[in-house]
Structures are given as C-alpha cells and as structure tokens.
C-alpha cells in the first residue's frame, strides 16, 4: 500500500503546488473546449485528475536532468517549464509551437529544457530514457533521466527490456509509472496477471514503491527521495503513481468501459480537492486564494491562446525541412 503520513506544508509551498496544478487543469479544460471549436485536432489526451504527479515529480529535477514522456504530456511539459504559449501554439499547429507545428499534442519537445517528448507509441520512450541515462553516466554528468509512462506500457516488451537494461547497467533512470487503472478501455486487471506494478521491478532487482498519486505532497516527497537516490548512481528506481484519469482517454472515447459512479468517486479524491482541503483545514489558505490562483491560471491560458491564434503557420515550402539534419546532396 501507499504511505499515508501527513506531510508538513507551508502556505507558500502549498499555494505554489496548487497554482501549478491549476495551471494544468485550466490548460486542459481549455484544450477540451478548443477541440470542440476545431482549433486543436488530431488525438488529444487530457491529464485532468493526474496533475499531482507532474507537479509533485518535476520539482525535484534539475534543469540539466532529462525528461521523457508520453502522448498525455501537456502537464509534464508545462510544469517542466515549456512556456504555455509555445505548447498551445503547438496544439494549434503553428510555427511558434514548441515543435514548429509538426508534432501536435502528442509530440511536445523542448531541447533547452531537456524535454524529449511526447511519444505516441506506448512504451516507446522507455528505451530512449535508458539511452539518455547511459549518456549521462558515461559523460559523468551527475544528471538523471525521468521517464513517465502509463500502466498500459507495462505490458509491452520494451518495459521489460528497458527495466532490465537500466538495472543491469545501474543507470540513473527514475521510472514513473502513472497508473490510472486503464489503458484506453482496458482495466489493469484485464491486462496484467499481476496488477501490483511494483512487484515487477523485483524481477530486475530494482527498488520500487507505490505512491498515492492523488496527493501532491506525497508525490513530491517520494520523488524527491527517489531522485536523490538515483543521483547517487546506485541504479534506477520505479515509482508507481496511483492516480486516475477524469476525462475520456481521448476525444473519441465514449467511455463504455467504466461507470460514471467510479469516475465521480475518484473525482472526490482529486489532487486539487485533496490539497485544497488539507490547506484549508490547516488554515493555510482561503477560498479567495483558490479563486485568485485559478484566475491567474486562466489568464495565462488566455494569453497562450491569443499567442497561438496570432502566430503564423509554417510555410508549406518548409515541409521537408528538418527531415535530415545533414546535407541531402
């Protein structure tokens, strides 16, 4: 089971975590609407409900650490520091997008922030994370690589191969499994003979722990410890973040596979509610604080949308640009 200690928190710290989570939440809610308005197209996978994971996890990383993510990565990208306008512009397919409009929602990149995507092939990022960590180790950089992936990825052969490699070579990788209990419509117990993902790490002699992914303070504490440990060079660690996705898998999902009641139950345990309740109980924040944070977040989203709207399209003449970095004689 996940730990349930009450972690100490200050007003300043608490509000900062809240603000970050609200930035994601407001961004995602806006994306949902923008999809309806056909400003955003393609596949769109929203992060509502899972904000505590990105927010709690990213804080312990250094700017030189590497981050590898999935197609459900808006939250990771934003908290990692990719400017929201560049992310929104990418979803609009604009030239000012963080992938120059070529990537879209599933392929956000930022070299300067060592944000290596944005991978739409489930588990496809894990081997890349292993390689980034190998480079960090061989170049003696004292950096680490954090790799996000879903519970669905655990069934892929690449999960197995990557965990073994990372452990065998004692590479500085922090594997962060976002277990939201479903891979599209497939519940974890329909996909895994053993549903406790931490037990799998033992097959690779890797330390692993479950974390309450709805509690941003728990995530922060556990990740911070794990990051320190991984940075010592003694090998990788896996944390299983137990969380839940509030919205549909993507914009095409009628959610036949789960009850509204189940969703509602999880919503009551949502990371934003959980934190707000705690801060209020401790007398560290008021409803006003909440509204201010939300207003600020929405203002940031507004600005991002305006930027995206106003941005130019990449020229069609540049379609083939960047296919090769070297000369094509």
């Amino acid at each position: 089971m996940t730990e349930t200690v009450e972690l100490p928190v200050s007003r300043e710290h608490g509000l900062e975590l809240l603000r970050e989570m609200l930035r994601i939440r407001c961004f995602e809610d806006r994306c949902y609407r923008l999809y309806g308005e056909t400003k955003i197209r393609g596949f769109l996978h929203l992060y509502n409900g899972e904000e505590a994971v990105a927010v709690g996890a990213m804080r312990s990383l250094r700017p030189t650490d590497a981050v590898v993510s999935t197609y459900r990565e808006h939250g990771h990208a934003i908290v990692r520091g990719i400017p929201m306008p560049a992310v929104m512009a990418e979803l609009f397919g604009k030239q000012t997008g963080c992938s120059r409009g070529r990537g879209g929602s599933m392929h956000l990149f930022d070299a300067s922030r060592r944000f290596y995507g944005g991978n739409a092939i489930v588990a496809g990022g894990l081997p890349i994370a292993v390689g980034l960590a190998l480079a960090q180790k061989l170049l003696r950089q004292n950096d680490i690589t954090t790799c996000f992936f879903g519970d669905g990825a655990v069934a892929e052969g690449e999960f197995h191969e990557s965990l073994n490699l990372a452990s065998l070579w004692k590479l500085p990788v922090l594997f962060l499994c976002e277990n939201n209990l479903y891979a599209m419509g497939t519940a974890l117990d329909q996909a895994q003979a053993e549903t406790d993902i931490t037990t799998k790490a033992r097959a690779y002699r890797m330390a692993a722990q479950p974390v309450d992914g709805m509690d941003v303070l728990a995530v922060e504490t556990m990740v911070s410890r794990a990051v320190d440990e991984v940075r010592t060079g003694r090998g990788p660690i896996l944390l299983e973040m137990r969380t839940y996705r509030f919205r549909a898998h993507s914009m095409f999902d009628p959610q036949l596979y789960r009850d509204k009641a189940e969703v509602a139950q999880w919503e009551r345990k949502g990371p934003i509610i959980t934190l707000t309740t705690r801060l209020k109980a401790l007398g560290l924040m008021s409803e006003d604080d909440y509204e201010r944070c939300e207003r600020e977040a929405n203002a940031e989203v507004d600005a991002a949308v305006q930027f995206a709207e106003a941005s130019p399209w990449e020229s069609v003449a540049d379609l083939e640009r960047f296919v090769y970095a070297g000369p094509v004689a």
């Binding site: 596949f43 990537g103 879209g104 891979a183 519940a187 996909a191 095409f252 990449e314």
Partner: protein
C-alpha cells in the same frame, strides 16, 4: 437474443460493413475469434467491434494487453492450433512491434516447413494519414508489407469489399493482412445488389476510361475517382483501377488497362521512394514498355514523417488536385488524347 444481421442492401457505412463482416464470420464458424487491444469493452478504437463483446462473449471478442508481438504471435499459434483468428492491430503504426512475428513466422512457416503447416490468420489494421495524427500515427505501410512473400495484402476500399473481403480472407489458408484506411470508416454507400462474395485475386475497374489509367487502392481510390470526375469535365476520360490486393498483384489487370490507355498515373499514399507505386511502375515497364505513350507518373506522399499541422499534412499527401495535375503532365508529355 442476438440481433439478426441487418439488411445488407440498405445504405451503410464502411464501419458497419466491416462490423457486419465480423459478425457474419463469427456466426458462421465457431473457430473464428477476434482479438486485439480494446476490441471488447471499449468497442474497438474505431468503434468497429462495438456490441460484439455482448453478442459473442469475452472468449471470442478478446481484449489483449498492449503486447503487439505476443498477441500477433499468439494469433499465429492459434491458427496453427486449428482456430481462425482475426487479430486486430489497432493501427499499422503499432504493427512494427509485431513485425518479427509477421515476417519471420507468419510469412515463412508454410514454406519453411515444406508445406506441413499453414497459417490461416487474418490481421486487420487501420492505416493511413489525413487525420492530423502526426509522424508516429500516420503511416501507410500496406505497400511496404507487400514486399514480403508468404503474406497476402488486402486493401478494401469500397463498401462491398469491406463487407466481403474478410470472409474471403478467412477462407484463405494463408496469412492475410487487411488494411482498412481510417478515413474510410465513415464513408457511406450501398452494397451491390446480389453480391454474396468477392475474390482476392482481381483488381477492379471502378471507372472505365480510355485516356489514362489511374491506379490506386484504399483511400487513394476515392481521391482518384474525384480526380477522374474533375478530368471528365475537361473531356479527359480516366480509367480508375482499384488494386484491391497488393500482394499478389493483379499484374494482368494493370497491364491490360495500360495497354488500352497507353498512359498511367499511380496514386499511392506511401512515401514515394520504395512505395508500391514503384513496383507497379516497374511491372508496367517490364510488360508494356512499348505500349506506353509517356512515362508513368506517380502521386505519392512526400518523403517526410507526416506532420501534425493540417496545411503541412495536406501538402504531404496525394490529393485530387495533384492527381489531376499528374494526369495533365502525362497527357502533355505524350501529346493530348
């Protein structure tokens, strides 16, 4: 009580045609089962298999974990073991993870065992670009798969083929890959009256014409038909040939049409270099070189990972406009008809 099969002569979508094909197959033969990611509870990622779990149960509508190599390989094993598996690989993009099983096992077992085994496996895959899904979700690899001996590659492009190719594929003792272009699922149409089955060997002339042959398959067929409409308005009569089966190719049909029209444009959603269009061009050169009035012209996807932004994606893909322009090039280089 299962629903009766809907009246197949009414208008239906391509999606419904595929679903009806699945239902018919499941009803007709207890050895048939469907397996893949989210085919059951989710209802299929393109809603193709919606309702089938309720009708046929979890043994025959089998949700799999994300383990493409293992469940495609399990399909091979199940076929060897006497079942008739239909394995759905959600999209061709994920089939790369199962390529070893497809090329090294499914395609080889019959020959390598001296004919002792055969692999009556059907793999269904959604394919194609055009929905702003970006580089990793927009592959058109059916022509690429057609390189592999031992496989049969089908590309149903019409309601008839969506409805009947599956049964023919299941009747075939060889491994069959059935590519359904994602853009087609919403296409509506009528089944041809009286049609009960289709064959897997013949290309089909979808529009007759005398001035040029447009050779296409899948979603490109419809782009070609649109181009042919457009051309007809200026008095150019294009014949439109739907390849239907990319392996084995119906070379005779290709050559026969090109001999008549003396000009060919090939429309292929694969990346230009090494796409099926090259093989078709080469067959024409090998068989009908002296019948050609002009070099064959290809309309393919640009040689880029397909980008997300709509205007870039559109620029990368074949379009009716580009096809019309290609036809005009062919006609000009050979003197107009």
């Amino acid at each position: 009580m299962p629903d009766p099969l809907p009246d197949s002569r009414s208008a239906m979508s391509y999606r419904d045609a595929v679903r009806e094909a699945l239902r018919s197959a499941l009803i007709a033969d207890p050895r048939v089962f469907l397996m893949g990611e989210d085919v059951g509870r989710y209802g299929g990622s393109y809603a193709v298999s919606k309702g089938l779990l309720e009708e046929f149960g979890a043994d025959r509508i089998r949700d799999t974990p994300l383990s493409e190599s293992a469940f495609v390989g399990a399909g091979i094993g199940a076929a060897l073991g006497g079942l008739k598996p239909i394995v759905e690989v959600m999209t061709v993009n994920f089939s790369l993870l199962a390529l070893d099983q497809i090329m090294n096992n499914a395609a080889t077992l019959s020959h390598m065992s001296g004919g002792q085994f055969n692999v009556p496996l059907v793999i269904r895959l959604a394919t194609g670009a055009g929905r702003q899904l970006a580089a990793q979700h927009s592959h058109s690899l059916e022509g690429w798969y057609a390189h592999i001996p031992g496989l049969r590659i089908l590309t149903p492009a019409t309601i008839d083929d969506a409805r009947f190719m599956l049964a023919a594929a299941l009747a075939c003792p060889d491994p069959v890959l059935l590519f359904e272009h994602q853009y087609l699922y919403n296409m509506e149409g009528h089944l041809t009256a009286g049609l009960e089955a289709v064959n897997l060997h013949n290309a089909a002339i979808r529009r007759a014409g005398r001035d040029v042959t447009l050779i296409a398959y899948g979603w490109s067929l419809h782009k070609s038909l649109a181009a042919a409409e457009e051309l007809a308005r200026t008095g150019i009569e294009a014949e439109v040939l739907d390849l239907r089966t990319l392996r084995p190719l119906d070379e005779q049909a290709i050559i026969a049409s090109v001999r008549r029209t003396r000009r060919a444009v090939i429309v292929d959603e694969g990346w230009r270099s090494g796409s099926l269009s090259a093989e078709v061009t080469t067959r024409i050169v090998e068989q009908a070189f002296y019948d050609l009035d002009a070099p064959v012209v290809r309309v393919c996807t640009a040689e880029v990972p397909v980008p997300y932004a709509k205007h870039l994606e559109d620029a990368a893909l074949p379009s009716p406009d580009r096809i019309v322009a290609a036809v005009r090039t062919v006609l000009e280089s050979s003197g107009s008809p």
